[in-house]
């Protein structure tokens, strides 16, 4: 996963071709600022693996547990990837959890009368409307995104209350329940694809090394990622069951990563966040990009809500409350700038994995949920501190 992360701050060319001439700044490329979230994740996973082995608890690195962590992370990771995009454009969306809840409520509430696909469509439509609403207020009235979405966070949650009339909704039609269950619970055996992808990453690293005749940071990332993917699959006998939300999240994150890293749209997204005025005067339609980011964020939340609703086939009015904070925390752990212009979806996903690995570790080690909030909070603040301190030099240059 760590293969080719991409922020405009990275001094090393990304996916790039001209690197032959420049010297690689290794201290920077592997410094805490760039790679901290990966180090933290690796450190956590390794220590949990040793602790569980030492204490004789269930094996942390078992496929069962790993797929479980991925499954628990998936919805947050998906929303955090979209959150990263909106943060990169220089905006903010606090309302994602409420939008997801509204979408889930609409889906659960209409699925029996409308049928599955129309219900999904209705839920997505409502979510996209929320995004348009947020974006239009921010862009056309010029109100700060933090304030607007703080308001819509409450207002949309209020809509959920109204829609559900304060009660829990439930899908009772057996056939519908079975279909939703089959959709959400569908298991892909990703063993072979993972193994092939791992080998492909290793091959890519070798080919790229042959071209540059120089070890670049991304070679190390490709090798590590390839070994992990292929190794996990190999050690489990080339099977690796992943559930629908995990696969959808992986595909979604992959697409967003690709667009941000390699396309004109992605470049403009970073330009809009990096200096909106310069982007506007370079002919970039800043309003469209920022509005688009709001819609993407809400649409993703809506889809996460559909998956959530399909998982439980029921919906309480307070479900998913507070999830926006986990989503934003993941993006911050991944080093996304709150001021726009910098961020990487891959690192954001690593941030989400870090948070859920912590939770998972607490459960496995039976440490009690009481410590959980405290430790998670400390991790987020520590990460922010690392990014701020590590960024100190660059900061003073720009301001």
């Amino acid at each position: 996963m760590a293969s080719t992360d991409h922020t405009p701050k990275a001094s090393t060319p990304v996916g790039g071709l001209s690197a032959g001439k420049g010297k690689v700044d290794w201290r920077r490329a592997f410094g805490l600022r760039e790679m901290g979230v990966y180090y933290a994740l690796i450190l956590l996973v390794v220590s949990l693996a040793f602790l569980t082995a030492y204490l004789g608890k269930a094996n942390y690195l078992s496929v069962q547990n790993l797929t479980n962590v991925l499954y628990q992370t998936s919805l947050t990771a998906m929303m955090a990837a979209a959150m990263t995009v909106i943060l990169v454009t220089g905006n903010f969306d606090l309302s994602v959890a409420s939008v997801a809840a509204l979408s889930a409520a609409v889906m659960v509430g209409t699925v029996e009368s409308l049928g599955i696909l129309p219900a999904f469509g209705a839920a997505m439509g409502v979510a996209i409307l929320c995004g348009l609403l947020n974006g239009s207020i921010v862009m056309f009235l010029g109100i700060n995104a933090f304030i607007v979405t703080l308001g819509t966070l409450t207002a949309i949650r209020g809509l959920v209350q109204l829609y559900t009339d304060g009660r829990s909704l439930q899908v009772s039609d057996l056939e519908t329940v079975a279909t939703l269950k089959a959709f959400e619970g569908y298991i892909f055996d990703m063993g072979v694809p993972m193994f092939v992808a791992g080998l492909a990453m290793l091959a890519l690293a070798i080919v790229s090394f042959g071209k540059h005749l120089q070890i670049l940071p991304r070679h190390i990332g490709l090798v590590l990622g390839g070994v992990v993917l292929a190794g996990l699959s190999w050690s489990n006998g080339l099977t690796f069951p992943l559930r629908m939300p995990v696969v959808i999240t992986a595909v979604f994150v992959g697409i967003v990563w690709f667009i941000l890293s390699f396309t004109t749209v992605g470049r403009r997204v970073y330009a809009v966040g990096g200096n909106p005025e310069a982007a506007r005067l370079s002919g970039v339609n800043v309003v469209a990009y920022r509005l688009g980011a709001f819609v993407l964020c809400s649409a993703t939340a809506g889809f996460a809500g559909i998956l959530f609703g399909s998982r439980l086939r029921s919906m309480t009015p307070t479900a998913l409350s507070g999830m926006e904070l986990t989503v934003i925390a993941s993006a911050i752990l991944g080093g996304t700038s709150l001021f726009g212009g910098a961020g990487s979806v891959i690192k954001t996903v690593a941030g989400a994995l870090l948070l859920f690995s912590l939770t998972n570790g607490f459960n496995i080690l039976n440490l009690g949920a009481n410590y959980q909030g405290l430790i998670e909070g400390i991790v987020v603040v520590a990460a922010a501190a690392i990014y701020t301190v590590g960024n100190g030099k660059a900061k003073s240059k720009t301001s």
Binding site: P8, P13, K21, T264, R267, G274, E277, S282, G283, N285
Partner: protein, 519 residues
């Protein structure tokens, strides 16, 4: 009265930055109680540096500052302030969310935000100046003129003997200026304060000051009693004689260009206006023509460029490029072939976290992409390297982050990003501000080169000698309207200065508004 002994004396004051840049090369200045001393000079002449030395923000590299008869070396503005020098800066540093009285007594010590002593002091100030401000009004609610008065009150509240005013009237309307003039007179004649008055407006220098010093290239080149001076003499002193040579070159070139000139209008403005900033303007720009826009800060020159570029959504009127009307959107303008190099290069021109190559490819991403969306980094970097080569940008390679570049090189990047697409009209807003003379010349040469290649250029500058050197035609703007239009070889910097800065002369020389526009 100690009128004979100067309150402040500068003797051979020098200031250098690093080993290369000499801002002041030995300036003598006497400031006397009870008199208004006018300080003039073109941009880069050293006015700001001199003011900063007076007010303690900079320490002089050489020479001496003598205050009330004894030599001083101030190391902070606070020190200068405590000894009786108050400076009113051009951009008024007030706290907009606080009340007038809180701003005026900002430096006061004590527990209460506002106490009776302050109220009493404030009343006293109002009476001294003869201008009444509402003590409890919030500063952000005040007009610019009233804010200027708050800044003056602030300076007076410190009990200063010398008040330095850096272009206090630059952004004021006529009636607001009158208030400032009255105050200045009252302070100097009535209260025996010494005032150093910095301005670009020649008419107010003549009307207000008792003596005048003109700076040019870091030296005081002209010093005289105001009585007996006229605007012509001052303008000549500001401009210098060297300009004659440049103007000759312009004349040669203008003839040359006139031969090959095309009459095909590329860009046509039809009653382009922006409420509050720009009076309706109608203008044609020919293919291969360089049009200069002369005007002082706040004259509407940047607003004109932004309105042309579709960056001002309140703009009305029409912009036609090759006969086709442009929509009011920066994207439409860029797609059609307009390019804007904005005044604030880091604030508006560049994305600070991007490398040179990411900045140079931003306006024309499609042309460095496969299938129009998949960026080809090899091409992008090649473009960045090409920009470095063509404009002689001093950077190790195109991987340099733009914030690491010097002002002149960053400026070249903001220009370079437009050189790789089919741009028909370049709009350059102060392209040479704050950059060294070498880079300046290169940029002006580039402008001429673009014109020879059939591009049209509109260039805004406060340094009129540059306009004389680079342009075919020059329009003069003042208070948001076009007040004159001249062929470059038929005018001179002196005249432009009068048109842009002097009210009386411009009134007699300019054709009435409607007629000029209708032409």
């Amino acid at each position: 009265m100690t009128d004979a002994v100067p309150l402040m004396q500068l003797k051979n004051v020098r200031k250098t930055f690093g080993t290369q840049i000499v801002a002041l090369r030995g300036v003598d200045l006497n400031i006397t109680r009870g008199r208004v001393h006018g300080l003039l000079g073109a941009n880069g002449a050293g006015k700001s540096t001199l003011i900063k030395i007076l007010s303690g923000a900079y320490a002089a590299t050489g020479g001496s500052v003598i205050w009330k008869g004894s030599e001083v070396r101030w190391t902070s503005p606070k020190q200068a302030n405590d000894m009786g020098v108050a400076t009113i800066h051009q951009h008024i540093p007030l706290v907009p969310t606080l009340s007038v009285i809180e701003n005026v007594f900002m430096g006061a010590t004590g527990f209460w935000r506002v106490n009776a002593a302050m109220r009493k002091g404030f009343e006293g100030l109002c009476e001294r100046v003869g201008y009444r401000l509402d003590a409890d009004a919030i500063v952000s609610d005040l007009s610019i003129g009233a804010r200027q008065m708050v800044a003056i009150f602030q300076a007076l509240a410190t009990g200063a003997d010398l008040i330095v005013m850096d272009e206090p009237t630059a952004s004021l309307a006529a009636d607001e200026r009158e208030i400032v003039y009255a105050t200045v007179r009252k302070l100097s004649r009535g209260e025996n304060k010494a005032i150093l008055f910095v301005s670009h407006f020649l008419d107010e220098i003549i009307a207000l000051t008792d003596e005048v010093t003109v700076l040019r290239d870091g030296a005081a080149v002209f010093r005289a009693e105001t009585a007996g001076l006229d605007e012509d003499k001052i303008a000549e002193a500001i401009v210098g004689k060297e300009i004659v040579a440049l103007e000759k070159a312009t004349l040669e070139r203008s003839r040359h260009v006139a031969d090959g000139a095309t009459d095909v209008p590329v860009l046509q403005l039809r009653n382009l206006a922006s409420p509050g900033n720009l009076a309706p303007i109608t203008l044609d720009l020919r293919r291969g023509e360089v049009l200069g826009v002369a005007g002082l800060l706040g004259s509407g020159r940047s607003e004109l460029l932004h309105a042309i570029f579709g960056a001002d959504r309140f703009a009305s009127g029409e912009v036609l490029l090759n006969g086709k009307r442009l929509k009011t959107s920066t994207k439409a303008s860029v797609d059609a072939g307009l390019a804007l190099v904005p005044e604030d290069r880091f604030g508006q021109g560049l994305v600070p976290d991007f490398e040179i190559w990411r900045n140079t490819s931003l306006p024309a991403l499609e042309s460095v992409s496969r299938f129009g969306f998949l960026l080809d980094q090899k091409k992008e970097i090649a473009r960045g390297e090409e920009a470095i080569r063509r404009l002689a940008i001093k950077a190790p390679d195109s991987q340099s982050i733009v914030t690491d570049l010097s002002g002149g090189n960053a400026q070249k990047v903001t220009i370079a990003k437009w050189l790789f697409s089919d741009v028909k009209v370049f709009l350059l807003d102060e392209p040479t501000a704050g950059i060294d003379i070498g880079a300046k010349t290169e940029i002006l040469q580039l402008v001429r080169k673009l014109a020879e290649d059939g591009k049209s250029v509109i260039i805004v500058s406060s340094e009129f000698e540059e306009l004389m050197a680079a342009c075919d035609r020059i329009i003069v703007m003042r208070d948001g309207r076009k007040v004159a239009e001249k062929a470059a070889h038929e005018t001179n910097e002196h005249e432009l200065l009068l048109l842009a800065g002097g009210k009386d002369n411009s009134n007699t020389q300019m054709t009435p508004q409607g007629q000029t526009i209708g032409a």
